[in-house]
């Protein structure tokens, strides 16, 4: 156990800190979930990152990365969030499909999709859930029917984040007619502008179109866009879900930066006599630090060659709950002003906390609801019967 950074790791931190200081836009970009303009501004930022070879640092150089290890990945994320750089519009691609392609893709698929993903030229949406297949994902009904060297996709996907403006989606389809549950499912990549695809944005509780329905009506895609084999879809999705709940999707740095902002808010506007709020600020910091320490611990174990296990489910519960709690503390400091919407003329950025709080309420639901995660912990970590 050695909890200090190596000179190489410190140099890496200095390098990314310096680059971000010179490239991060002065003003926040407009939301990528509200308008096409905001979406494209974020795509342009992804291109800037890629030009600096910072798009996805853990990827091999041939796919636009730097081939660095998970500790350096965490350092990158820490500096990224510290700098206030824009959110990653392609997170479904780079954090979920990317690692999955790396593990299950053919050399041709990797060469075709990874560089375009790293550069932001192709932004990805996830097309797994259906109206009848949410927590019970194995009841997927959308079909992919083999037709020579093509599949015909039919069905309805929903709650697909970023799909309103994205270019491609990776979907879970039933390729074996009449198959039940986890069997006969296959992962297929398809462009969202293909004939037969209709995307209908869904407004979230904040009014933004962060997700969409995807209607598929005889959408023809070549077999070469199948990831893995026929019938391997469930297994691949579970590996992807591990990335989603585990290391990649929610970097601890996001919450550590938020906890630092919260402490600053308390110092500026908190009531010194309010010891309950002071303790809640300390608790938000503790939780963000605990999450970071846990992720460093997991990264160390992965680097030592140990597999990532059901602990990803504990991660997902922990970060989603700490996010809600942290933002609620901020609202309690803001008090009666907490309800105020963002106002460009308002010098004090009250509205950010409100936005972050509303967004945090999605955390316990997406990427597998926390109730599903508790089942996974109980059954796979603790060995309780199904």
């Amino acid at each position: 156990m050695n909890l200090t950074y190596t000179p190489e790791q410190r140099a890496f931190r200095a390098e990314i800190r310096d680059w971000l200081a010179r490239h991060v836009p002065d003003k926040p970009l407009p939301s990528f979930d509200a308008t096409r303009e905001g979406f494209e501004a974020h795509r342009a930022w992804e291109r800037t990152l890629a030009e600096g070879r910072w798009g996805m640092v853990t990827w091999p150089r041939e796919y636009g990365g730097r081939g660095v290890d998970l500790i350096q990945w965490l350092i990158f994320e820490e500096e990224y969030y510290r700098s206030g750089a824009p959110g990653r519009v392609n997170q479904n691609g780079i954090f979920l499909l990317g690692p999955t392609l790396m593990e299950f893709g053919t050399p041709e698929q990797k060469a075709r999709f990874l560089p375009a993903m790293a550069s932001g030229d192709e932004i990805w949406a996830q097309a797994w859930s259906e109206p009848q297949a949410g927590s019970d994902l194995a009841s997927v009904r959308a079909t992919a029917t083999r037709d020579g060297d093509h599949y015909m996709l039919n069905g309805l996907k929903t709650w697909s984040s970023r799909a309103a403006f994205a270019d491609w989606a990776f979907g879970l389809f039933r390729t074996e007619p009449g198959s039940q549950r986890h069997k006969g499912l296959t992962l297929i990549l398809f462009p969202l502008n293909a004939p037969g695809v209709t995307v209908k944005p869904i407004a979230r509780i904040d009014g933004k179109v962060g997700f969409a329905e995807i209607f598929l009506d005889d959408v023809r895609v070549p077999v070469s866009q199948r990831l893995g084999d026929d019938g391997q879809g469930w297994h691949i999705c579970m590996v992807t879900a591990g990335f989603e709940r585990g290391l990649m999707l929610r970097s601890p740095a996001r919450y550590q930066v938020a906890a630092a902002r919260l402490a600053a808010l308390y110092r500026r506007q908190g009531n010194p006599a309010d010891s309950a709020t002071r303790a809640a600020v300390a608790r938000a910091w503790m939780d963000a630090e605990a999450y970071a320490l846990s992720i460093y611990s997991t990264a160390s174990r992965i680097l030592a060659g140990q597999p990532i296990g059901p602990e990803t489910s504990t991660n997902k519960i922990f970060w989603s709950e700490l996010d809600v709690a942290l933002n609620r503390v901020a609202l309690s400091i803001l008090g009666a002003r907490a309800e105020l919407m963002p106002d460009p003329d308002e010098p004090d950025p009250t509205g950010d906390w409100l936005d972050d709080y509303i967004f945090s309420l999605a955390g316990p639901i997406y990427a597998g609801s926390n109730e599903i995660q508790r089942n996974i912990i109980a059954e796979r970590m603790l060995g309780l019967p199904r």
Binding site: T6, R82, A282, E289, L293, T314, R374, A378, L382, L384
Partner: protein
Amino acid sequence: MNFTFTDEQKMLAEVVRKLMDDRCPPPALRSLMDAGAVHDKGRWAAIVETGLMPVLVPAEQDGLGLAEVDFAIVAEAAGRAALPEPLVEHAGIALPLLAAAAPGHTLLSAAMAGEVTVAIGHPVNPLVADADTAAALLLVHDGELHLVERDAVRLIRKPSIDPFRRLFAVEWVPSPASRLATAATAGPLLADALDRGALFAAAQCLGIAQRCVDLAVDYAKERTQFGKPIGSTQAVKHLLANVQVKIEFARPVLQSAAARFAARDVRSRAVISHAKLVAAEAADLGARTAIQVHGAMGYSWEVDVHFFLKRALALTYAWGDPAFHTARIEQRVLNHPLGPDQTFLNETDHA
């Protein structure tokens, strides 16, 4: 940056866990209690035999010179077993304090051999644990550290709800002969003792928490109601999953706190306090959840869970109560730099 244990540390964890499983299973706790005995001499001899006494004594004084990370492994196993003997207070706190305050003291070799124990009356605790079986007591008067033979003090037993904790009020008279260190010298040493006390209480709590989950899981698999094991219902699953989440996010904090002990600054101390708080919360939630999962059986003397509930209760308030540790964390959070690049930094990294 490496957050994994060495092979030696993994072996230590295995050895101590097996020692506790063999020597300190719940039936052994009950027979000790039924016999009205204070300690189990055979178990203590086996612990001494394993070489756990000198873990934190420097190599120059014939100790093993290992670190807090290593002893935290020992303390976790002791907590998991609700060990009655004073392994943690003697070997984890009193011995390194004695070795630091009085290098080469005549008592040290017998104490390292486990022939005698040393009790500690730290100002943060109102009472002294295991004072009656100790050969001598480390006591504090006006900030000075004294070593006093047990026969030279008057002990008043204060029964604890934990049947295996032996607490005493101590009446004693300090003298120049008993003084080991002046207040100036003793201050930093007592701060170390407090940090070790809090750290190893946290480690014991983590062991207690996992033991409670394990007991409840075993019961939930066996106990059937409505024609199926109660552990197959989501209501029970989610109770236990919540405890496991608490444990999973207390463990890396404990490991980090132990690894950073030697920095002895406001940052490393905040992590120790963090570990103490969340490990105690995990133990408390674990014990209460285990009782709930066991139902009426869980409320009975017959089921072992109450041993762990009581030890968790005691350790939650020993070596700094939650208010004490929360204040140390607030001091760090409100007065020192925060952010993701700060997690592993010490004060001196900014000098």
